[in-house]
Symmetry: C2
Subunit: 293 residues, 2 copies
């Protein structure tokens, strides 16, 4: 094979280091943080002065990332916000991911997409998020069961973040149903552990159910949880840490609106940094538990 | 208001007639069909000669639509197949929807997206599919409950197609769990009827569970079901019709691979038409039940 073909191939395969559990924990210890910044970027809510740029959504994301990169271990673009703008939204997402993927080994990326379909379709979603956009992980809905989740798990060093117990009011509609062998969300968290190891599978556990964290930690002691619902939705960092931390941290706490919209003025990036720093400060007390381990 | 502004506004609001239940039934009777063609368009599977076009996926879809428009009442692009190609896939999807939306009142369009998230996020997905792409309906996953579904139902004359009992093997993992008040999928189908009327809500019921149709028809007598799983997945049209038809038809049977990949040669559109005609022929016996009603 001629050298040029080989080097092209290497570029196409993306040289960024894979973000496995060990690397993720190193990152958490290095940054003294398990904060995930939610990039729920809404063009109607970003500062007016950005609208002069050809891609205001990307400019906003780039400024937020630059301001918080030392504080956040993860970034989570929320796909709905990009899709709502059609083609230009998808372009902003691609640019954001290209930018994030330049921070080699310094961030963990999450496609908050809540996908899941029959096998041959989930395989296409996996291609979209793991190959085309090169995310480290994707959120997946469990309703359709094992063959809807497996195609995502077939990627080495990529992660599925499966909905366990969500943060919204509607989590009470089905997730708490008694199944004769635990509640539905308990069944999901228990069964999915047969599909994926703690090195490739995490669970979404909403911050609005702090009372459930101790119990869930016993159900899945070695798994990471992505915790949405802090801030705007009312969840509390302290309670989550007290009930949810594992010996390897095991938590990524997401905050979106509280950080990215901390100010709507020209100081938005600075304000985002301050808000992120405050949340990371709250995490500090708990980091000593495992940073020496 | 000057006349020019008004006419511009009319154009922007899309002049196509709304596809409510009455209109859908009229369409079924007119075409003597309740066939939905699944546009699971995979660039690696379409005929080679299309690759010379700037947008081969759109060219393929357009040819399939042209060949089947008299036979199919609905078209269902499967989002994963478009997302897997990134920006160019999203562009092909937009072009396909613009083309489909020219067939005013002649087709019902389904975004097979399996979305669902917390309220403010589902609202953005609804904007993407109902406003930006102007689909008539979108498939939604029920795990996150009422507030994840409601934002879609707030659009007049647009539809939610909620996952009830899916066609894949993994449907056995959670959907059949006994909840003390029926199985999980029965709970979903029962509860969701409090959220949406038969004029705005349908259920996905997989063709691979023909034995469940009679029972589901009793649970939700007046609702339409979107039935995937016929053909490649093994479902049988006759059994579905015998068990699932209502007095207002109440079924949209989807077929994708069997129709769109009926031939991989230059005669693919002709072959798709023949395959669609065969499926519609199977439906004919059952249409007499309600076409006079």
């Amino acid at each position: 094979m001629p050298l040029t073909t080989q080097s092209l191939k290497l570029t196409a395969q993306s040289p960024k280091p894979k973000m496995n559990k060990k690397e993720l924990l190193k990152l958490i210890i290095k940054k003294q943080s398990f904060l995930c910044v939610g990039l729920d970027t809404d063009i109607t809510l970003i500062p007016q002065h950005l609208l002069k740029y050809p891609d205001p959504v990307f400019e906003f994301n780039k400024a937020i990332i630059d301001a918080t990169i030392d504080l956040a271990v993860a970034y989570k673009p929320n796909l709905a916000f990009y899709e709502s703008m059609g083609l230009s939204g998808w372009a902003s997402l691609e640019k954001t991911m290209k930018y994030l993927n330049q921070f080699k080994g310094q961030v963990f990326t999450i496609a908050d997409a809540k996908r899941g379909d029959i096998g041959n379709t989930s395989k296409m979603y996996a291609k979209a998020f793991f190959e085309h956009l090169d995310f480290d992980s994707v959120t997946v809905a469990p309703y359709m069961g094992e063959d809807s989740v497996k195609p995502f798990l077939e990627y080495k060093d990529k992660w599925v973040i499966l909905l366990g117990l969500t943060s919204n009011k509607g989590s009470n509609d089905f997730q708490f149903l008694e199944t004769g062998n635990g509640k539905l969300y308990e069944q999901v968290i228990t069964k999915a552990q047969q599909w994926g190891t703690p090195d490739q599978l995490m669970f979404v556990v909403g911050a609005t159910h702090p009372e459930a964290f101790k119990h869930i930690r016993r159900l899945a002691p070695d798994y990471f949880y992505l915790v949405p619902g802090v801030g705007a939705q009312g969840g509390d960092v302290q309670q989550i840490c007290q009930n949810g931390l594992s010996s390897e941290c095991g938590l990524l706490i997401n905050s979106a609106r509280n950080i990215i919209y901390a100010s709507k003025g020209e100081d938005f990036a600075q304000a985002a940094q301050e808000s992120a720093r405050k949340t990371v400060g709250e995490m500090a007390n708990y980091l000593s538990l495992f940073s020496k381990g």
